[in-house]
């Protein structure tokens, strides 16, 4: 004999595995949701690995990797639109966005401390804006999804870069008032008001809205939260992280080993992978190296776009912190350049390496990635002011960055144009290898016309393969194009 039962008796919830409908109940759940959203930034194809390869397609870097598809990726040769660096990035960025959308959609309904509630939603909006920032400038025309999908049939409209910018601005403007100026030591690393202001200013910079950007930089300076740290090196190691110069860092610790792509769902990876690929051969895979012009720029004033360079009273100390080369006398992973028998005609990235504390790299570096640091903010403010023809206001900001590393201040009469050129050069040297340069050459319009490409070619022959109107954007992975007939591939792929 069988008896009937209520149908919903069959829908039992597992007490060991909360579901979306019985999670999101209290303050603790809300905080965990936000941590999960931050954790999205650690994913394989976000700041753990792919971001760096995507950002290093710029003219400061090149790849001689024996992994030919990878080297070709940095040379703007990507016959396979689904090559994993870019296609995994598409996956992982949207996974991060999914987590932020859950927080933004669910946390307002929780009964909890109102100030903290607002702050948590604002943090999620910051992370969402940061994710869309990279998506907008790497992929261009991306689906704008702002809510957790009801089910697998959900679809989002594909929008232009400009429309994504509007959304980033909306998110950041609403986040800024609700974010704190700073956190206690045990909470450092979370998004601050200054971080959101700086990211918003970066969006305005990309839009070439100099006045709007400059106003925000002014507010950041007035907040009195940020300064340059005395030791330039403190921006690139795991000592002295989240310091006064740090505006926003993605947090990593080297104590947990990598488990693979997108694995932040179980025994999560909390470590950083960049140094394993961006260093010298032997201790690292040496997949990405700096271009020679950049090494020379620290000593050679004949680099074509550096009319602002002055004579130095000694070698720019940023050179040997940024780049391993035959003339760098330091010890790397226990040996000198000559002891390693590296090719003296080659140069390798040094920033973010653990070469002072380890004998080689593995997949678990603990060094935080500095997404925005105050030197970048100062130089962006200088650029915005110079663009606004306020050359005399721009100059001291550049000199503040220079004098921190004992360089002689720039002096003399600058025009708007020569000031800008000096700022561009200073950015190249100060932020070398940090990945900001992709967004810089994008903002400077160098990838928009043949003259710009020709200039980039003089520094990086990879740009011989650059196709105007095509290579500026990465291809959208084919899978989504097949499933969503309204999604269109970027031009030329």
């Amino acid at each position: 004999m069988t008896t009937a039962c209520e149908k919903d008796l069959l829908d039992q919830s597992n007490p060991n595995a909360p579901t979306k409908d019985n999670f999101w109940q209290n303050e603790a759940d809300a905080v965990k949701g936000v941590y999960a959203a931050y954790s999205g930034l650690q994913q394989f194809a976000v700041y753990y690995r792919s971001w760096h390869f995507m950002a290093h397609r710029s003219d400061e870097s090149f790849s001689a990797s024996p992994f030919v598809e990878l080297a070709n990726f940095t040379r703007f040769i990507q016959p396979d639109v689904d090559f994993f660096i870019s296609s995994f990035a598409w996956n992982d960025y949207y996974r991060t966005i999914y987590r932020t959308n859950q927080v933004i959609g669910r946390v307002p309904g929780i009964t909890m401390d109102e100030t903290l509630k607002k702050q948590l939603v604002a943090e999620a909006k910051f992370i969402r804006a940061l994710s869309y920032f990279d998506m907008a400038y790497f992929f261009g025309n991306v689906p704008l999804i702002l809510e957790e999908p009801s089910d697998v049939t959900a679809r989002a409209p594909q929008v232009t870069q400009a429309e994504t910018e509007v959304q980033m601005i909306t998110d950041l403007q609403s986040a800024i008032p609700d974010l704190p100026l700073s956190y206690n030591d045990d909470q450092k690393g979370r998004a601050t008001k200054g971080a959101a202001q700086a990211l918003l200013a970066k969006v305005y910079m990309q839009q070439r809205k100099w006045a709007e950007a400059s106003a925000l930089f002014t507010q950041i300076a007035a907040s009195n939260q940020y300064d340059l740290v005395p030791n330039y090196l403190d921006n690139f190691t795991d000592r002295n992280e989240n310091n006064r110069e740090s505006v926003f860092e993605v947090q990593f610790t080297g104590s947990v080993l990598e488990v693979g792509q997108g694995q932040d769902n179980g025994s999560a990876s909390e470590s950083h992978d960049r140094p394993n690929f961006f260093g010298p051969p032997g201790p690292t895979f040496a997949d990405v190296q700096p271009r020679r012009w950049l090494l020379n720029a620290y000593t050679d004033s004949t680099v074509s776009f550096a009319p602002g360079s002055t004579t130095r009273h000694r070698i720019d100390p940023r050179r040997d912190i940024s780049i391993i080369h035959a003339g760098n006398p330091d010890v790397f992973y226990g040996r000198t350049f000559q002891q390693w028998n590296w090719n003296p005609n080659q140069q390798y990235w040094r920033k973010y390496l653990n070469d002072r504390t380890r004998t080689d790299e593995n997949f678990s570096s603990g060094i935080n990635h500095r997404v925005i640091r105050y030197a970048d903010v100062l130089l962006m403010q200088a650029e915005a002011l110079a663009q606004l023809n306020q050359v005399s206001a721009a100059l001291p900001l550049v000199n503040r960055v220079r004098t921190r590393v004992d360089l002689r201040p720039l002096t003399g009469n600058f025009t708007r144009e020569s000031m800008l050129q000096a700022i561009y050069m200073e950015r190249a040297k100060e932020l070398a290898g940090e990945g900001t340069r992709w967004f810089d050459i994008l903002r400077w319009g160098l990838m928009d016309n043949q003259a710009g490409i020709d200039e980039l070619k003089t520094r990086d022959t990879d740009f011989n393969n650059f196709r105007l109107g095509v290579s500026k954007l990465l291809p959208i992975p084919r899978r989504d194009l097949g499933i969503d007939p309204n999604l269109k591939q970027n031009p030329g792929y």
């Binding site: 040769i77 016959p79 999914y98 022959t461």
Partner: protein
């Protein structure tokens, strides 16, 4: 004629066999991930984060299969000749399939079980036999033939295309499940003139970076360049004709049986050959590679050009090593001598001398003795790599050829 039967049948059954871990597991609920952790604070402490990571399959149900059969059975000449024919239509409704999920929804994992659509198989089956077993020399032959026309008849979203198998195949309404979708390989450029003259209708040189010895692809959309938009449907992975022939004979204690089967009309993507011959990186090549050279103007294998060069050389190498092209697609048809067995049963006059001994038969068997195929991979009888990509050969372990001998003793 001693038997004539007209048959018709209709049946419906259900199937809940989802593939996957633990014999077919899937998320029934929107589970929240428990260890989505982050690092916070000056001490760089790990803090626990939680979030929903994967979309569930909350309402999936059994797929239903409706089979309609019309057939004719015929026996003649004391059942020496038997014939059985069928026309069948098998409709699978709400097929349970691992459907690829839009990545931008943020779903962790590539696929999700869904009742994804309707699939139809229809075709003709024939079994023709001739058996002579009324004399001392008995012999017989059975021939079977099956035609298959597989078609996806509906998908959840109009216009939807399901990509599969490293994006080598597509499934869409009106097509067979998992058809190959590739850029057509169009031979090898034999001269610089051929490169210069290979233009689209607007006069654009289609592969300007190429030299003699490089692969030529067809610019199917006539846009003057080769890319994924040039991919076209290039063949089915499901065969449209399957045949079997079983022959047997016996005389005075000797028995012989032979079984052939064949498959035709399907294509196989030879991934092993792609890996060995695409020269994409500094990997192993096959020993007998015969690249194009002026002295050896191959029409199928390009010049030996390792990837990674700069400028035109780099572009040509990348182009030559494209993976989603018909260069790696081969005809999957084959005829195989699947089984041959020769046996001899000792006469009862010998075996009856031993009490309680029934019979003794000695035999030798050969399996997979012989295969006629144009397929260059290990084995045209492949298992494929999944629901949408059964025609992708990742060099799975081939069927072995074996010869066995045995003695069968009955007591």
């Amino acid at each position: 004629m001693n038997n004539l039967k007209l048959r018709a049948s209709y049946g419906a059954n259900g199937n809940d066999a989802v593939a996957g871990a633990a014999g077919g597991s899937y998320l029934t609920q929107a589970i929240v991930g428990q260890n989505v952790n982050y690092v916070i604070g000056t001490g760089q402490n790990i803090v626990n984060g939680q979030s929903q990571l994967a979309l569930p399959s909350p309402d999936i149900k059994w797929e239903e299969r409706y089979t309609t059969n019309v057939g004719l059975d015929l026996g003649a000449w004391d059942d020496r000749i038997t014939l059985s024919t069928d026309y069948y239509i098998s409709k699978t409704r709400n097929a349970l399939a691992p459907v690829q999920v839009l990545t931008y929804l943020g779903h962790f994992g590539a696929t999700l079980f869904q009742n994804a659509g309707d699939i139809e198989n229809r075709g003709f089956e024939l079994a023709l036999g001739y058996h002579e077993n009324k004399s001392a020399f008995t012999y017989g032959a059975d021939f079977t033939l099956t035609t298959v026309k597989n078609e996806v008849t509906s998908l959840p979203v109009v216009g939807q295309v399901l990509e599969g198998g490293e994006l080598l195949t597509r499934s869409e309404v009106g097509r067979s499940l998992g058809e190959f979708y590739l850029i057509p390989f169009d031979g090898i450029f034999q001269s610089a003139d051929e490169v210069a003259n290979y233009r689209n209708s607007a006069g654009t040189v289609i592969q300007p970076f190429a030299s003699a010895g490089d692969v030529r692809y067809r610019d199917t959309n006539d846009d003057g360049r080769i890319n994924n938009s040039d991919a076209v449907y290039s063949g089915k992975s499901i065969p449209n004709l399957l045949m079997g022939l079983n022959l047997n004979a016996a005389f005075k204690g000797f028995d012989l049986s032979v079984f052939f089967n064949s498959v035709s009309g399907n294509k196989i993507y030879n991934q092993a050959r792609r890996d060995l011959e695409s020269y994409a990186g500094p990997n192993n090549y096959n020993a007998d590679v015969e690249p194009w050279s002026p002295e050896n103007p191959s029409t199928s294998t390009p010049r030996l050009l390792q990837g990674g060069g700069s400028g035109d050389l780099g572009l040509a190498a990348a182009s030559n090593s494209l993976f989603n092209t018909t260069r790696w697609l081969e005809d999957g048809s084959y005829i195989r001598l699947r089984n041959i067995q020769l046996g001899y049963t000792l006469p009862t006059s010998v075996t009856s001398k031993v009490p309680s001994l029934g019979s003794i038969r000695v035999y030798v068997t050969g399996r997979n003795v012989f295969t006629a195929t144009d397929y260059t991979g290990f084995d045209p009888e492949i298992t494929g790599t999944g629901f949408y990509s059964r025609g992708v050969d990742i060099s799975s372990y081939p069927n072995v050829r074996s010869f066995t001998g045995g003695v069968q003793v009955n007591f």
